[in-house]
């Protein structure tokens, strides 16, 4: 098993390297002037000030040297410093990462919380309210997130004053109150982010439940005297599998959607760092973000490869055979 994990991890390395290379190439193809990054693009630059700055900056080494320097730093776990404010990239990311995690996890939870019950009901009954609910979700899923955001902001925050419009809350309230405040601020961005996922989750869950809860299987189980909780326990391991896989369908959409949602709701997450980084050609920052997302995706695959055999005996056999072949 250890050999299997090691091999899988090693295989991802060239992929990672390729991703950083592509990201670096794209960043370097964008027209820019290093002086503009340093002056934030807005300062009134006279020719004299510009030439002084050019002298003070390191002579602009070519892209190959810069990439090599960056890669060499990476080997020492040094992601470099942001060109914009000179702080370590890791510090900048560490500030934003928790916010992105909170937002995306709560959106994921919202998708499951709505999608699974609807799928369950849909699988058990034909037509009626569940179908209407799914149709509604389908319509909602084609509403662009920013449009939904603007509508919800105007209605729930401005017109009715029920929820905060944007931001993360004051954060200086004590304990429980701060938590409640944060949750209130999470409602609108989470809803907008989950919007596109609900219809998908409901349809996916319905199909999954249908397959698992085939009438024959249910009848057989009932005939053996299973009912209620014991029935659910009997079917749980089998049904878990598709729902673990469902994450893979949702997460990439969440990550790209959250860039827009973060900007609209003033959510201080990685999406904003990325936008700012690309606009400012802050390449150490952008490279680190690319690396982070690549590592996340690859690690996700690796974890799936490890978790799924643990759940599914068929996959376990496959891994074992793989081990034997390679010795």
């Amino acid at each position: 098993m250890t050999g299997y994990i090691l091999r899988r991890a090693l295989v991802t390395l060239p992929t990672l390297l390729g991703i950083t290379l592509v990201a670096f190439a794209i960043l370097n193809l964008l027209p820019t002037d290093p002086l503009l990054t340093w002056s934030d693009g807005t300062a009134p630059l006279s020719a004299e000030a510009a030439s002084r700055l050019r002298d003070a900056l390191q002579p602009d080494s070519g892209p190959v040297t810069r990439y090599a320097t960056w890669l060499f730093g990476l080997l020492r776990f040094d992601l470099g410093r942001s060109l914009r404010d000179g702080r370590p990239v890791t510090a900048v990311l560490a500030e934003a990462l928790p916010w992105t995690l909170v937002l995306n996890l709560s959106a994921l939870a919202a998708i499951y919380a709505v999608g699974l019950p609807l799928g369950w009901i849909g699988a058990r009954r034909r037509g009626g309210a569940a179908a209407a609910g799914r149709a509604l979700l389908l319509i909602l899923s084609v509403v662009p997130p920013f449009a939904a955001a603007l509508l919800l902001q105007r209605l729930l925050a401005v017109r009715l004053g029920l929820l905060p419009l944007q931001g993360t809350g004051a954060g200086d309230a004590p304990g429980v109150a701060a938590g409640v405040d944060l949750l209130r601020h999470l409602v609108l961005p989470t809803t907008c982010l989950a919007l596109a996922g609900w219809a998908y989750a409901a349809r996916y869950a319905r199909a999954a439940f249908r397959a698992i809860l085939a009438p024959e299987a249910l009848a057989a189980a009932r005939a053996r005297g299973l009912h209620g909780i014991s029935l659910a326990r009997h079917f749980a391991p089998n049904s878990a599998l598709p729902f673990v896989w469902m994450v893979a369908g949702i997460v990439p959409a969440l990550v790209s959607g959250s860039v827009v949602i973060e900007a609209i709701f003033s959510w201080p997450g990685l999406g904003q760092v990325l936008l700012r980084g690309v606009e400012g050609r802050d390449y150490p920052l952008v490279m680190a973000l690319m690396l982070l997302s690549a590592v996340t995706v690859l690690a996700g695959q690796l974890v799936a490869d490890l978790v799924l055999p643990a759940i599914d005996p068929r996959l376990r056999d496959l891994v074992a055979r793989d081990e034997n072949v390679r010795g």
């Binding site: 002298d55 201080p268 700012r276």
Partner: protein, 565 residues
């Protein structure tokens, strides 16, 4: 890294002055409410004594750093104005006013500027602010390692800065330098917190200490920057207890946040500004602020001969005449803006004669309604003729077809360029439009790799700031993107710098203005107005061409409204 313990510690420290502030406020309220009922037209002293409240101001972009010398983006400067003091400042009408310097004098030869600082001013950490801090600030600006690109220009002509005693600063210029005084609108750094640290990464860069009306409390990355009243401010405590900058990247969200009561100031989108002004509910909750910033939009015609079109002033004049700026301001901007006919708009007194002997520019009335006939005549004279078969104008077989670069993120850029495209088509000229992001546009402008480009310019309060756009030394590396080269203009700019007499100096700028109207290296277009709402819970907001914070007293004068909560 910074959000864990240190944040909490800072918040704890911040409570102490807050409690003090609350007590002071309570005492003041008690003092003012005993006896007589507050009169409608209360005396100024009484109004100034009313203080308290938390004002939330949206910032679209988070400051890069709060190092007073290196942080020169708009957001950083806004925060620095409140936390720190400069020697001099300008009021809402852009006149120079004293700030940290109580007074100053200029030597008869115009080379030595002596400031007399206020006595007993202390930084927020209690350390005295002296002339040594001023000298230190200047040294850091001049040190190339500080990357102080946005601050260095007014100090290039400085020979030396001395501190003969703790409250005197003597600045010697190599030659008389008329814009010298305004150059000292720079926030003064606390030398004691920077000496011996790495300037670029010093802790004070993210927790600044100044002498200004507001103390720094906390900076929560990506979320907000919190300031609290400096109760020991040399001009007395400010009218607000707390000033918060909330980072809100979307302009629309900022406006909605104003309506939802989450911020106390926001720009009102032009499309709804007219209807909002008549909405009684809106007028009850918000007061309106209007100003036209010094910022203006222009098209630079690259006139260095790298394209066959724009080296000829007649062509530039013709195109300038054909573009309907007034129509754009009236229809697209809903009248909320100004047509710009001179780059010196707002920087020179409105009336002022040309020096005797100068002939007024032929095409001076460019900003009026488009004149296609005169434009066509000019183009014919320049050799650009319309073929009898129709189609584009040609000269020696070359069709008049060029590309205009615009900023894709600017609504004004995109919309105006489309209007101008139609205007020019009627003249037999085809203009294609290429949309770029800001960095790409700027790097193309700076490398001169374009035919025509739309951009914007933000002049300072002094007419000398047009030097960067028009002086030939600024073609390579500066902002003279049109590559305009005129020996007279160059000489007049330099002479104006050496001329201390205001009238004589203005006459020189009038000459430049007249020459620019004839040569038209740029088509000066329009300046959109800013219409903003301020929560009615506060009063004292005053608009200047640099907004409600960008002048003295600015945020210092904001205070809770009479009868408000």
């Amino acid at each position: 890294m910074t959000c864990g313990m240190s944040g909490r510690a800072r918040a704890g420290l911040a409570l102490l002055p807050l409690v003090t502030a609350a007590l002071v406020t309570a005492a003041l309220v008690a003092a003012t409410t005993t006896g007589c009922s507050p009169a409608r037209d209360e005396p100024a002293g009484r109004a100034a004594a009313r203080r308290g409240g938390r004002f939330v101001f949206p910032l679209a972009i988070e400051p890069a750093t709060l190092n007073f010398v290196s942080g020169t983006d708009q957001a950083s400067v806004m925060v620095e104005r409140l936390v720190a003091d400069s020697l001099v400042d300008h009021d809402a009408d852009l006149r120079v006013v004293p700030r940290l310097a109580a007074s100053w004098e200029i030597s008869p030869d115009g080379r030595v500027l002596t400031f007399h600082l206020r006595d007993g001013v202390r930084f927020h950490d209690g350390v005295a602010c002296t002339s040594a801090d001023v000298v230190y600030t200047w040294e850091r600006i001049m040190d190339p390692a500080s990357h102080a690109v946005g601050r260095v220009d007014p100090f290039l002509p400085v020979e030396k800065v001395e501190a003969p005693d703790p409250v005197t600063v003597r600045v010697t210029y190599r030659e008389p330098y008329a814009p010298a005084l305004r150059g000292w609108e720079i926030p003064i750094m606390p030398a004691h917190l920077y000496r011996g640290t790495d300037f670029a990464t010093a802790p004070a860069n993210r927790a600044p200490v100044g002498t200004g009306p507001f103390r720094f409390v906390s900076w929560e990355a990506g979320r907000r920057i919190v300031l609290a009243a400096n109760l020991d401010y040399w001009a007395g405590p400010p009218g607000l207890d707390r000033f918060e900058f909330a980072i809100i990247p979307s302009a629309d969200t900022a406006y909605q946040a104003l309506l939802a009561g989450e911020v106390d100031y926001a720009r009102i989108p032009q499309a709804v500004a007219a209807t909002r002004a008549e909405d009684p509910e809106f007028r009850r909750r918000f007061s309106e602020v209007r100003y036209v910033p010094l910022f203006f939009n222009y098209i630079a015609w690259r006139g260095d001969g790298s394209n066959p079109f724009f080296a000829d002033a007649r062509v530039r004049r013709a195109l300038g005449m054909a573009i309907d700026r007034r129509g754009y301001v009236r229809s697209v901007l809903h009248g909320l803006g100004e047509v710009v006919s001179s780059p010196f708009r707002g920087l020179l007194p409105p009336s002022g004669a040309l020096p005797a002997g100068d002939t007024p520019a032929a095409g001076a009335a460019t900003a009026a309604t488009p004149d296609l006939e005169t434009a066509a005549t000019l183009l014919e004279a320049a050799g650009w003729r319309r073929p009898s078969t129709g189609g584009l104008r040609r000269r020696n077989g070359t069709p008049f077809r060029f590309k205009l670069l615009v900023f894709a993120g600017g609504d004004d850029h995109v919309q105006f360029s489309q209007v101008a495209q139609d205007d020019l088509r009627r003249l037999g000229i085809e203009m294609t439009i290429e949309r770029l992001d800001w960095q790409a546009l700027l790097s193309r402008l700076r490398s001169g790799d374009f035919q025509a480009a739309m951009s914007g310019f933000i002049p300072g309060p002094d007419a000398d700031s047009l030097y960067g756009l028009l002086h030939s030394s600024q073609i390579d590396g500066g902002q003279n993107y049109a590559a305009f080269r005129d020996p007279d203009t160059d000489a007049w700019f330099l002479a104006a710098r050496r001329t201390l007499d205001d009238t004589a100096r203005q006459a020189l700028y009038r000459r430049i203005e007249n020459r620019i109207a004839t040569e038209q290296p740029y088509a000066f277009l329009f300046a959109p107005a800013v219409i903003a709402g301020v929560s009615a819970r506060f009063e004292g907001a005053k608009a200047s061409p640099q907004g409600i914070l960008g002048h003295m007293p600015g945020a210092f004068a904001l205070r809770p409204a009479a009868g408000g909560s």
